[in-house]
Symmetry: C2
Subunit: 320 residues, 2 copies
């Protein structure tokens, strides 16, 4: 059955809103423990109760309060010491093979920030959905526009990729590790994933905002389901000349195809795109006058839901 | 003192958020009665307690519940009948000169929608902040882009205008009356406010999304302060050729000037723009790569706050 744009948004921004139903929201939160760091008043993530019960939480590093439903990191007073304590806990879980998601170890560190944008700690990327922390990335739509109209460069993910195998993707996308800036991440990924050289990227790219949403992992993501994944994706448009062709440069992408707007809409409605890539394309279509208030009855709801104010502090990626 | 972009956003999106401080938010809501319509479960607006006490609420049309803090329109079961009851209540208040904002009678009707997008009633535009209902409009940025860079067409509001006299504005902006569609409103206002002919508008305009926020009226708005004004503004960009010059066509605009990006930023920081026009320009700068994650530390907070999920049902303006 064909999916509406709003359905696609809901597949990506799955976590409920307080304002829709305060009682149901409060009841839903009972399914999670809140991830906290000693000395910081903010909530930093949602850990499902099942994950809480499956972890071994070394007593010298963690306080698990079942009444308050909090898991507080009490070890360390510096980012280095906190990160080391988390790494130790994760290493034990890997050794015990407690979580499927930890089998996808990436050797990439994701940061966690406090309410004033202060860097609190970092942890292995594949562990971030276990803690439900905010993650950051970049998503890029490369397109060509000529007399025949607008066409988009759409890659298909490798069938052997661990997450969302075989699904359609945004032209370039990637996660931002600790310390990385959005544009820098974009330039790196453009070469790694699409063989696009830095000079072409810099000459043709426009920073156009971000999308944010709170995803709840389903089976397509691989590993445990129901994990909370609040995300911010910085968004870029790149208008390419017709003779610039993105090419796979690693094993992550199978091929790039040039889709018309109608082909892209059809693939969206068929559910062929990875959920957060669908959201980025919907945002692209809104900014380019393809989805309008007159042709999309859910226009307002879509726009507010793909720019969700997250439940947790978010980072500043500005140069100091 | 120079205002940051986030401060400008906060001047427009003033109403607090539950998630920032649930207790303070709940306490703040005690300052309002909720506007409701019999038979509709949704909240439709916030009426300040002072406005509640100053209105005469004819008993045959209204139930004021001081314990629940609700004002419920009980008269009528059709939009026509409900609107007539509201009109009668307003006519009495005008006769008694109870509210300053009602001195600015516009003879324009603003609609109120229920949770399924159903049209519930309409009321005179200048009364809408008394009931705190969602209002809809269009805001347009006309710009020219050439070898010297991007410049924006910025009008100055007439010094005799009732609201925000003498302040800077978006090139074209206007409120949507009952039944009007966004693009249709834009075409009408482009001629009325900037003498831009329909063919030029249609050939050069792009629908690029919307901004939404909950404004609390300050003295610059004229009339009673503290009134709640949740708004959705559909946003359009119009890239104009250098020889197309917007010209005032009514008494609302004093003059149009072509501002560089730096001149616009300076006027924003000086607080010279009407608050919601500042928000539209910030959105324009974000979409055009002028405000980026690397040069704006509040990038994420700004984007989520100018796409606020409103506390009330919103309309669909799609063609049926």
């Amino acid at each position: 059955m064909s999916k509406s744009n709003l359905q696609l948004v809901h597949e990506c921004n799955t976590f409920p809103y307080y304002q829709d139903n305060p009682a149901a929201y409060t009841a839903h939160l009972k399914n999670y423990h809140i991830f906290k760091v000693q000395g910081c008043s903010s909530n930093l993530g949602y850990i499902t109760n099942e994950v809480v019960s499956r972890f071994d939480w070394p007593k010298e590093s963690w306080v698990v309060d079942s009444a308050d439903q909090t898991v507080t990191l009490v070890a360390g007073s510096t980012p280095e010491a906190r990160s080391a304590a988390v790494a130790q806990t994760l290493a034990l879980a890997v050794k015990q093979d407690r979580f499927e998601v930890l089998r996808g170890w990436r050797d990439e560190m994701y940061p966690v920030y406090g309410p004033a944008g202060e860097f609190l700690l970092e942890m292995e990327r594949c562990a971030s959905p276990l803690f439900g922390i905010v993650s950051y990335g970049i998503h890029v739509t490369c397109y060509v526009e000529d007399a025949t109209g607008l066409r988009l460069w759409v890659p298909r993910r490798s069938k052997t990729k661990q997450t969302y195998p075989g699904m359609l993707d945004n032209t370039v996308a990637g996660g931002m590790s600790t310390g990385e800036k959005p544009f820098e991440c974009f330039v790196r990924e453009a070469m790694e994933e699409a063989s696009l050289p830095e000079d072409i990227v810099r000459a043709n790219a426009t920073s156009v905002g971000c999308v944010s949403y709170t995803y709840v992992r389903d089976s397509r993501a691989g590993g445990e389901t129901g994990l909370v994944q609040p995300e911010v994706e910085y968004v870029y448009d790149v208008k390419l000349a017709a003779d610039v062709i993105p090419k796979p440069n690693d094993s992550e992408v199978e091929e790039f195809c040039l889709f018309t707007v109608d082909e892209t809409k059809k693939a969206l409605a068929n559910g062929e795109f990875k959920p957060n890539c669908a959201v980025v394309l919907i945002d692209f279509f809104i900014r380019h006058g393809i989805i309008t208030p007159e042709n999309e009855k859910d226009f307002l709801e879509i726009i507010t839901k793909i720019h969700r104010r997250l439940e947790f502090p978010t980072a500043s990626h500005a140069a100091n």
